[in-house]
């Protein structure tokens, strides 16, 4: 099937060439980082995780969100999702590749990463995250390969794939839960040490991921003969709406607990994000942008008229994706380190090499998804 990804028109190849160019630039910066060390990033003793780990966290959510189309389709036999389920699974594959690469570029000794498997340490959440992510990649690869292969031959997929698909549902939930446990289990970082972190991660993921899927489907409709139809989009939009509402509810619960309880160790991180702390407030405009975008998106999604109108739906999806990216892919990780455990406020700003490397990692994910989509659409003769 993979040969379909190697044939395409001029538009396809220029898109691939653009992605390769972004990857090339990023690779050049990565070589610099590899030679000089992580000193080329904005990271420091005080903020020791930053942009890379934040992107990893955000993209684990996007990967997990495939379950929002897989579950209704396979568990509830919701036929309308037939066309988009494979798209969701391919987004999951691309996202997991992105996640793993972000971990790789964040390592001080990247070629020792195999030590995680050579010296398995079950008491470490990072070990479980590595297990969960690799497992999820394999599951999605196997499922999409088998189901699409059967579709190409015009036969029903083999029976054994069904339990594998069922397994992928709790597995998707587990990848984001374990990722939340990475942070929520640290007594040293009160900002993350909240029982609601994992539920919140899932809610934001199940909102941002399917919103991305809506945008992808509409884009494919514009660029190709692939038409997912109006109804499935609307059904996904309802999932997005509920998940966003739940996410905002969870965030408000966190804010209430921190502000009302007034414990300095918990409150100071929220102060840093929303009003600034000791004159430092790099993230304040970002956090407010995220808040406003999130609320506007929720409004557009809740009102049936604007949800059904595809123009306003697209607007809502873009706004909420940006909002949740700022929240999880920027603020959540950085604010966990500010102030630091010794009550110092040391800020962090990603550097150009860091951003270029991140862009390259994303480009690689896009390349994977592009190739996989090309295969899927070629098999269905919908290009």
């Amino acid at each position: 099937m993979i040969e379909h990804a190697l044939k395409g028109d001029k538009r396809y190849w220029s898109w691939v060439a653009t992605l390769l160019a972004v990857m090339g630039i990023g690779f050049f910066f990565y070589l610099r980082q590899y030679n000089e060390g992580l000193t080329v990033t904005g990271l420091s003793r005080d903020v020791s995780w930053g942009f890379y780990i934040a992107q990893f966290t955000f993209m684990v959510g996007v990967a997990a969100s495939a379950v929002m189309v897989v579950l209704p389709y396979y568990l509830h036999n919701f036929k309308e999702f037939g066309k988009i389920t494979i798209l969701g699974e391919f987004v999951a594959i691309g996202s997991v590749v992105v996640c793993m690469t972000f971990i790789f570029v964040d390592m001080g000794q990247p070629f020792r990463i195999i030590n995680v498997f050579l010296y398995p340490s079950p008491q470490s959440m990072m070990f479980w995250d590595a297990v969960a992510l690799s497992g999820y990649l394999v599951l999605n690869f196997v499922i999409s390969h088998i189901t699409l292969g059967a579709e190409r031959k015009g036969i029903a997929p083999p029976k054994w794939i069904k339990p594998v698909i069922i397994l992928s549902i709790p597995w998707a939930v587990s990848i984001h839960t374990v990722t939340a446990f990475l942070y929520a289990g640290l007594a040293a970082r009160p900002f993350w040490m909240t029982a609601i972190l994992a539920p919140r991660f899932l809610a934001s993921a199940f909102s941002a991921g399917p919103a991305l899927l809506i945008l992808v489907c509409l884009l494919l409709r514009k660029l190709t003969k692939f038409n997912v139809g109006k109804e499935p989009i609307q059904k996904v939009a309802i999932i997005v709406t509920y998940a966003l509402a739940i996410n905002i509810f969870f965030v408000l619960m966190e804010v209430f607990t921190a502000v009302y309880a007034n414990m300095p160790e918990h409150l100071s991180h929220f102060q840093y994000l929303f009003v600034g702390l000791h004159g430092h407030g790099n993230l304040v405009p970002w956090m407010w942008t995220s808040t406003v975008f999130g609320l506007v998106a929720l409004g557009l999604l809740i009102v049936p008229k604007t949800r059904r109108n595809e123009t306003t739906l697209v607007m809502a999806c873009i706004l909420l994706f940006i909002s949740l990216w700022i929240d999880k892919g920027l603020c959540l990780i950085i604010a966990g380190f500010v102030p630091n455990p010794l009550h110092y406020v040391v800020e962090y700003v990603p550097t150009l090499p860091e951003l270029a490397i991140s862009a390259a990692v994303y480009a690689m994910g896009l390349l994977v998804v592009t190739g996989l989509y090309k295969v899927a659409l070629s098999v269905r003769k919908q290009l």
């Binding site: 000089e36 060390g37 992580l38 000193t39 990033t41 990271l43 420091s44 003793r45 005080d46 020791s48 995780w49 971990i103 964040d106 390592m107 001080g108 000794q109 990247p110 020792r112 990463i113 030590n115 995680v116 050579l118 010296y119 340490s121 008491q123 470490s124 959440m125 990072m126 070990f127 590595a130 990475l182 942070y183 289990g185 640290l186 007594a187 040293a188 970082r189 966990g336 380190f337 630091n340 455990p341 010794l342 009550h343 110092y344 040391v346």
Partner: protein
């Protein structure tokens, strides 16, 4: 971890013996018992005569005595020189094992507006607390950082560390540093009897395990002329550290984090 390491050494020893001694042993018609006893001899922990040993190493820092010494930096200098700690002269790349903090930052949760001046303006050395239940060890995905069971030292295997910095996120004391860049050009006076680190690994105070093995006290303790740093076995009721803790009021950093730090501050 130390058990695993010993197992590894044993295997390595057996393999080496198998390669080197196995063939002649066969020729001579001897059985493998010979090889086994030889291997046991190889893997026996090195008992250095005069090594300092304890069941639970701990440090007691007399903040008052430290204050009386004024702007002294002897313990920091001695530690950083002994352990080839680089000096980058910028806070972003900084590596430090022991340094000075004010009461507010070191023991911050007990800070208040009307605190007496002696305490408020007190500065004290901070370092790795060699916790009884170390958060850094729990999170390490490779076992590169581990607690030595025989005496409680929290150590790092610089050849296994993958540089993920999870331990830095988990440490409630900010005691860990990362080698953001190659430290070697920034070490003024390289000490050949202690390893330098490569970039991309985490490091911190080791309670001078290498000096203890030679029968010496930690470098900072030895360097402190004011006698403000006292090092000893917490499980020995006759030790200096236990006597001081029995006599004076002491505090530990962030007791609420549940890590059971083993560095005590006398105020």
């Amino acid at each position: 971890m130390s058990v695993e390491r010993r197992k590894f050494l044993k295997m390595a020893g057996l393999t080496a013996l198998g390669l080197a001694g196995g063939a002649p042993a066969k020729v001579l018609g001897q059985d493998n018992a010979f090889a086994d006893t030889a291997a046991e001899a190889v893997v026996k922990p090195i008992e250095r005569s005069g090594a300092l040993t304890a069941k639970r190493w701990a440090m007691v820092i007399d903040v008052r005595k430290c204050q009386e010494a004024g702007e002294c930096t002897k313990c920091f200098d001695a530690c950083h020189l002994t352990h080839n700690v680089p000096d980058f002269d910028n806070p972003k790349d900084e590596v430090k094992w022991i340094w000075k903090e004010s009461f507010e930052h070191a023991l911050g949760d007990q800070d208040h507006e009307y605190l007496n001046d002696a305490v408020k303006h007190a500065h004290m050395p901070v370092l790795c607390n060699h916790c009884d239940d170390p958060a850094c060890v729990k999170v390490c995905p490779t076992g590169a950082t581990f607690k030595r069971e025989e005496d409680g030292l929290v150590m790092i295997d610089w050849h296994r560390c993958i540089g993920c910095r999870y331990c830095m996120a988990a440490c409630p004391y900010g005691s860990r540093s990362f080698n953001w860049r190659d430290p070697r050009p920034f070490i003024e006076d390289i000490q050949p009897d202690f390893p330098t680190r490569s970039r991309g690994v985490v490091e911190k105070c080791t309670f001078c395990d290498e000096r203890l093995a030679r029968g010496q006290l930690p470098a900072c303790v030895e360097a402190c002329e004011a006698g403000a740093l006292v090092f000893g076995d917490l499980e020995d009721p006759e030790s200096e550290v236990r006597k001081l803790l029995a006599e004076r009021f002491s505090m530990r950093r962030k007791p609420g984090s549940g890590t059971q730090p083993e560095v005590y501050y006398l105020l």
